[in-house]
């Protein structure tokens, strides 16, 4: 598993395939300098139970949001198992850069509210641009 050291300012976990989370965090850092809000995890080479353990070990106070890459991915499945007994947890799958940028820039409200708003922003950022 590749993972970043958990920063004290972390508000959310980002987990996905390969270097997905580290890549997104790198982009967030380049744009905003606020990637320290994320704990980045990869599911590479991990059994389902190990992914779940890794998530649980990082869900300390102040972290109540998990962003995952693919709705059908093993990271999302593990996160859903974690969320089953942590009702305060907000899980957002299908995360993209626009979602994370909105999340780190949100100032008011709880992390859960920020995650819900960020998900809407991420969804709206998917645009097909064609010549007309």
């Amino acid at each position: 598993m590749s993972e970043s050291e958990a920063p004290k300012t972390a508000r959310a976990i980002v987990i996905g395939h390969g270097e997905f989370s580290a890549g997104l965090a790198s982009a967030v850092q380049q744009i905003t300098g606020m990637a320290d809000q994320f704990i980045c995890l990869s599911n590479t080479g991990m059994a389902p139970g190990d992914i779940e353990l890794a998530l649980r070990s990082h869900l300390s106070d102040g972290v109540s949001v998990i962003f995952t890459d693919l709705p059908a991915g093993s990271a999302t499945m593990a996160a859903r198992r974690v969320a089953r007994d942590r009702p305060e947890l907000v899980l957002v799958s299908g995360v993209n850069l626009a979602t994370l940028l909105d999340f780190v820039c949100s100032s008011g409200g709880s992390p859960a509210e920020a995650a819900r708003g960020a998900a809407e922003r991420g969804r709206a950022s998917l645009v097909v641009l064609e010549r007309h």
């Binding site: 395939h17 080479g45 059994a47 389902p48 059908a72 991915g73 093993s74 499945m77 859903r80």
Partner: protein, 161 residues
Amino acid sequence: MGILLYRIDDRLIHGQVVVGWGQPLDIGLLVLVDDLVASSDWEKELYRMAVPPEMEICFADVETAIRDHARYAGDPRPGILIAGDISVMHRLVTGVKAIGSINLGGIHHRAGRKEKLRYIFLTPQEERELLALEAAGVEVTAQDVPGARAVPLAEILGGPD
């Protein structure tokens, strides 16, 4: 069409299955064989929500899968049958007697297992089960995604150990 891939993968339904294999094979049917999942509504819902709408997923314990295998094999949609471990697939192969090849897609590290490939870790007992399957005429290869090379069992067992 029937079942195009009999896969052992401890992650069961996940990206490699739904997207990696599912898209190029145009999979319309997933059969998840697992006694625990088949007995839990929560587990079934967990996996059902991970499957795109163009795919149907059905759940079976091993005995049910043996009984219903002819129906899966006769389904007009291309399908993948998934088991979470070698012993489940071994029981299925023994009961069905019509499975010619098995794909090892992901068996990850745990106590007692040794690394054979990047995504395949086996205990001595699991190695014996795979050898027994091959001795029974079943082709066993490891291949995590369609673009990768299918690694034959002899090569797997001669892995980095």
